[in-house]
């Protein structure tokens, strides 16, 4: 039994890195995702195309491949152009990849949220003399955000699990801690069970929170 506890505790050492990477990535993802969503809603064909290309490319490739390109491919490319470049810390490309990856999914979530806001809201805002940008900022986006909060939190849960691929590009997060311990102790089963438990103590409470929020909101809406 003790060996399982040891496996769990070792995996837990990776929790701060996993949380940190996930948090920065979700903030980056939300910001870039909002930008992409606004591009996809704009009247400009070029902006629409950029947003669509970005989303298609990111969603059509595995995050591990994106991480390998960013962590090892990009420095090599820059070096081949004659500039000395090395990531000062491999967490940096990892966070960028997670954020950029999440942005593609966030963009779709935000876009659906914006479209779910009643058309009359934009009309009412415009009829008060607001331009489109002001109407988006003051009227549409605040309502869209409320609607997408659960989907946003679900994306965060997904992101936490997906950061597990970052062990392959030099980030010592939960999974990597378990792997390292496994290769020195050969306690394979306890090591990976420990890793699984470490992820669960992050994801399950978060999922419960989301469910609670959705239930509360459903009750509130039913009462209104």
């Amino acid at each position: 039994m003790e060996v399982y506890l040891q496996g769990f505790l070792i995996a837990c050492k990776g929790i701060p890195t996993t949380i940190w990477v996930s948090l920065v990535a979700i903030v980056l993802g939300a910001a870039v995702g909002l930008l992409l969503a606004l591009c996809s809603q704009s009247n400009s064909k070029a902006l629409k195309l950029i947003s669509k290309l970005y989303i298609d490319i990111v969603r059509g490739t595995p995050m591990l491949v994106q991480a390998l390109i960013m962590a090892y491919g990009v420095p090599q490319l820059i070096q081949s152009m004659g500039t000395d470049f090395k990531w000062p810390n491999l967490v940096i490309p990892a966070v960028i990849v997670c954020g950029m990856n999440s942005a593609a999914y966030m963009a779709e979530i935000i876009r659906s949220g914006i479209q779910a806001v009643d058309k009359g809201q934009m009309e009412a805002a415009r009829s008060l003399g607001m331009n489109k940008r002001m109407a988006m900022r003051l009227i549409i986006i605040p309502q869209a955000i409320r609607m997408i909060l659960p989907a946003f939190a679900n994306e965060f849960v997904t992101l936490i699990k997906e950061t597990s691929v970052l062990g392959y590009v030099g980030v010592v997060e939960i999974l990597r801690h378990g792997q390292l311990w496994n290769s020195s102790s050969f306690e394979t089963f306890p090591a990976y069970i420990g890793v699984a438990l470490a992820y669960m103590i992050l994801t399950i409470p978060l999922s419960k929170l989301i469910n609670g929020y959705e239930r509360r909101r459903a009750r509130k809406e039913a009462a209104a």
Binding site: A124, R126, S127, L128, G129, M130, I139, Q143
Partner: protein
Amino acid sequence: MIEIKGLHKYFGENQVLKGIDQSVNEGEVLCIIGPSGSGKSTMLRCINRLEEPTDGEIFMDGELITDENLDRIRTKMGMVFQSFNLFPHMSVLDNLTCGPVNVKGESKAEAEEKAKKLLARVGLAEKAGEFPRNLSGGQQQRVAIARALAMDPEVMLFDEPTSALDPEMVGEVLDVMKSLASEGMTMIVVTHEMGFAKEVADKVIFMDGGYIVEQGPPEEVLGNPQMDRTKDFLSKVLI
């Protein structure tokens, strides 16, 4: 004050407005009646460009409305919708101050003071802190009227303001509109409330099939219609 010249509107292949010419003078109350699909709401929505006219010109105070001056001109036109369209994430008070503060640059204090007066005027002074979802339909529509008035508009556009209301709430909204009219507000009202049109309108337009079929003072259009289509329509609605 408002002049509409040669207004045409297509939705795809479907021609909804087939050449509308009309003017509304200051202080005048114009009621637009007609069967659904006759183009009356589209005409109203073309005035403040919630629908883009396919062809035709609309002037406000002698100024042609264009893409460039649209946002500024919209601040002079209050709009009230069938489905209220209050901002659900804001309190009633914030619904009223949001336009004046953000669009016209009024100070928060100034806007709030005016908003409270307007809420009192529509009989909802005590609801300032409530959220729209806690109000009845009639109360929401009265707030929507106050929200439009908060911009100090020169003309008010009403798009079937009582059609989404339970029957017992129609009266309270019509009362607010009547008092506005009696204070001299210029109003264009698309409505099915013939009683209101008869009592308040200076001019009534009957529309059908994208045309203005008949127009004139309410006692003529509603009391003694000349055209068969007007007679047919009026015979089917209760006055």
